[in-house]
Each structure stands twice: as structure tokens, then as C-alpha cells.
Symmetry: C2
Subunit: 205 residues, 2 copies
Amino acid sequence: MGIVARKEKQKQEIRSLILEESMKLFVEEGFSKVSVRKIAERIQYSPTTLYLYFKDKNEILFYCCESGFKKMLEQNIALGLISDPIERLHQMGVNYLNFGLENPEYYDLMFIQEAPMSALIDMGAGWSSGDQALEALKMIVQDAMDKGLLVPAKVETVAMAVWSMVHGLVSLAIRQRLDKLVAAEEVENTMHESLDWLLKTMKKA
Amino acid sequence: MGIVARKEKQKQEIRSLILEESMKLFVEEGFSKVSVRKIAERIQYSPTTLYLYFKDKNEILFYCCESGFKKMLEQNIALGLISDPIERLHQMGVNYLNFGLENPEYYDLMFIQEAPMSALIDMGAGWSSGDQALEALKMIVQDAMDKGLLVPAKVETVAMAVWSMVHGLVSLAIRQRLDKLVAAEEVENTMHESLDWLLKTMKKA
DNA sequence: TTGAAAACTTAACACTGTTAATTAAATTTA
DNA sequence: TAAATTTAATTAACAGTGTTAAGTTTTCAA
């Protein structure tokens, strides 16, 4: 029995190795440059070996994306210390913008590319990481509403609005669309101003 | 001189042919399925011929994207009839959501893919279509502010916020992320609710 | 009609994801 | 311990991608 456990462990180690090296690759060279062959070369295995550990490339990308969510959630741990829901929501937004701007390749994978979602559908599984992040958002909105800090509305509606806005900001920035609206060097600043504006605006007078 | 003019006209006709067929292709089969070889086959030319009319694939995609903006602008013509700026902004948002949901492949190209922007940078040119659309947005916001319908703020900040929000909604919907927040059959409805919420919220009490 | 210019094609390169068949290694059984 | 079996990894191949260089055909002007 010990031997099968060790084998399982080895298998997991190679899986981790593949994922680690994949992430390094697309942080260094960008999403579009990551190929099965390049990953294989990095870990000194034949390209086809990867298919013994993952169904296809999309599945590899999905698991990379998972570790992106982990990274993102870690960033939000300190959030619990903020008691005012609006303040907490604001900081959550700031964290979101920062995560996106500092990790554009991760962000691309997690929220822009369709590959990870295709994998999710193929796997017929849930999306614990993503759901967890969204649940946190809904909780805060609910909390703010309960405390009378927001005009009453459907929680999902407001959560969707807030998420869409920060996602819109980050994704347009990453894809270099925002510098069509303001000068490139002012993009980041204006993004934060827009977020501030939203929170100020939605706060019940 | 007439002959060189006719030649120029023929050249433009082939350019148009390439673009038309490209668009048909990716409306039918989706962005990722469009290849130079498939386009070439459709217009009964060798693949390399396309390179006599366009620098590369990105440039083809850029011009497809241009005609997407044309389509979008046409949709907004009727907007001029609405005199109330907030109402006009609202309808502009509704049009935006509808355009994205009805033409996901166009939307993908215009606002999500990086290829057209890469082409734009390579060409060293401006982006008249995109700029035009953004200018219209800024104008409305400015107008609403002038008429005291919005809390005073920097026009770019508010324009960025509004655009980011509708873009966020559409792009998350297209990439199937919104059905992680609400049931798939309620996504479209909730999107509109979120937009309504934003406009109601930002309207000066 | 000849010669130059323009338009177009063929062949090739260096990639991509992925599958089937094959070899090498590890483990179990006799 | 030696043979048989299972597991792991590889090689070869398919069908596709964007793109370039070289060669061919067509068009037009002198």
C-alpha cells in the first residue's frame, strides 16, 4: 500500500512541476506564447507526456488559473480587518485593480481567455475558486445593504455591476483600449478615480 | 490615367472581398476558427495572395473591427432624438449591451482581442472609429454634467466608469463568467438591471 | 511583338495541439 | 531470481497555423 501512495505522490509532483513551469512561462512570455512543446522542454519531458497528466492544454490552463485565484484571495485576507462595508468594498476593488495591473497574464487567463472555461465545462466540475471570490463580493454588498449604507436593490444586480466595472477597467487597460480615452500615463490613475467615483456615487447620501 | 484608376478600384474590390469573407467566416465559425487559408479558399485565391493586400492577419482583423464600429455607430443614430442626456446615456448603454450580445464575434474582435490593437500599433495610425465612439460618450457625459444632472466630476473619469461597466458586463457574459454569479437564463436580464442601477444611482438626486 | 511591371501561385519553414503505436522502466507474479 | 505484466515515457505522424522567398503567369506600354 505504501508503494501505490508513493506513486500517487510522484504523479502529483509531476503535475505540480508542469503547472509551475507553465505559469513561469506565461508570466515571462505571455499567454499566447505558451505551447505544450515549450512547457515540455522546460521540464525535460516529451510533449506527449503532458497528456498523461492532463486531458489537454485547456486543462493545464485551468489549473494555472486556479492558482491565480489563490493568489488573489491571499491578497484579500487583510480585508477582514476593515469593518465599514463600503470601505471594505472599496479596498477590495483597489486590490482587484492592482492584481490585474500587476499580474496581467494571470488576469488574462482568469477572466479574459475562454480556454479555462472550456476546460471547466469539459470537466463537468464546479468552480470553487471563482465561486469563492464572487461569494465574498456578494457578502460585502449584502452587508452594506443590511447596514443601510446602500440604496436597497437586488444583491446580484449590484454585485454584477461592481464586478463588471472593475473587470471592465482592468481588461480594457490590459488590452490597451483605455489609452484611447486618456493618455497612457494617466490610465492607472484614472482607473482608480473611476473606482472611487463609483463607490462615492453608490453610497447612500 | 483611367487605367491606373481602374486598377486601383480593382485592388480595392479585392480588399473588400477579403474583408467581407473574413467577417462572414468569423460570424459563422467564431474568431478562433478564422485562418488565412480558410479566407483564401473562400475567395478562391491562394493564401499568400492575401499578403499582397494586407500586411498580415492582424491587419485584416483590424479592418474587420473597423466595420464593426460602423455597425455600432449606425445603431446609435437614433440616439440624437433623445433630448434628456441621462436618458440618452441609458439608451446608449442598452444599445451597447445589445450589440455585444447579438454580435459576440464582432465584440470579441473590437474590444477583447489584442490582434487589432497590435495592428494599429504596427500601422502607426490613429483609430478614428474607436475614437469617434468614445467621443460620443464623453459628449453625453459632458452634456449631462452641464445640465446639472450629474454630480460634478472629471468627464474622463465618469466616461471611463460607464464604458468599463458596460464592457465588463458584455465581456464577462461572452466569456461565460457571469453565469457564475446568476443562473445562465437570468444573465441577460440582470445585465440590464445592473445598467439601470448604475444610471439611477449616478443621477443627481 | 518584345520587355518590363504587376499579380498570383508553389514550395517551404517553423511552428501549433493532439493521437496511435512503440519502446523503456518498474513492479508483480511464478 | 526470471518471466510476465503493468505503468511510464517516447517517437512518428496528422492536420492545421502564419508567413517568406522564389518562381510563374498575366497584364500592359513602348
